[in-house]
């Protein structure tokens, strides 16, 4: 999928662990893992809002559009 999730990069910059972020944005660690590994098919605005608020960033910092090689 051409949408890349850079959540781990932003988390590393903020020095925040997965467990801490999952607790602050009120989602399970397994769901956060789905998001971090790029397996997620969609993200709720409420989740995105909570992530941006907690990590003090913009949606564009977390999500990036990278066209496939064939396109």
């Amino acid at each position: 999928m051409p949408i890349v999730v850079n959540l781990d990069v932003v988390m590393a910059k903020r020095k925040m662990s997965s467990g801490e972020l999952a607790e602050k944005i009120d989602i399970t660690q397994s769901n956060l893992s789905i998001l971090k590994t790029g397996k997620a098919k969609a993200i709720r605005f409420s989740t995105l809002e909570a992530i941006c608020k907690t990590l003090d960033c913009q949606p564009g910092d977390i999500l990036e559009y990278r066209p496939d090689d064939g396109e």
Binding site: I34, A40, A42, R44
Partner: protein
């Protein structure tokens, strides 16, 4: 208090009763066909062997259907409802109904009332097939939902 768990237990009990009835029919097939051909007013005495063949051949899809139903219920009992395995089980159940209908259809050549059994079995197979299609869609939706964070 009635709940989903008790409902599943009741359904399992019904399947076990049907399994028992099916076994009883197969074991007593020679006597059953004797009795039927004796009491039948259509003079079916000469078709005794055909009746027994229909019962024995029909036993195979019927037993497989009951086994698949039991397996499906056990999966539902453990919370595995919208899964690809259940779709496959429903597909097999549907085809087993059609197989039963085919056996009854072939048996029409010696006893026309088998047509009722054939139509009923084919109709059941059709209903199960529609349910299978619905569950297949539900599995896809569930898989999507599982990856929405």
């Amino acid at each position: 208090m009635w709940n989903g768990e008790k409902s599943i237990i009741l359904t399992k009990l019904c399947i076990v009763i049907f399994m028992g009835l099916l076994l009883a029919v197969v074991v007593s097939a020679p006597w059953l066909t004797d009795w039927f051909t004796d009491v039948s007013q259509a003079g079916q005495g000469e078709n005794r062997a055909y009746f027994m063949a229909t019962i024995y051949v029909g036993f195979v899809p019927a037993a497989y259907l009951l086994y698949s139903l039991f397996k499906l219920l056990r999966r539902i009992e453990t919370g595995q409802v919208f899964t690809a395995e259940n779709v496959e089980l429903l597909r097999r159940i549907s085809w087993t109904c059609f197989a039963g209908a085919a056996v009854a259809l072939i048996s029409l050549f010696y006893y026309t009332p088998w047509a009722f059994v054939a139509i009923a079995a084919a109709f059941m197979g059709l209903i199960v097939r529609v349910v299978k299609n619905v569950v297949a869609q539900a599995v896809e939706l569930k898989n999507e939902a599982d990856y929405i964070v």
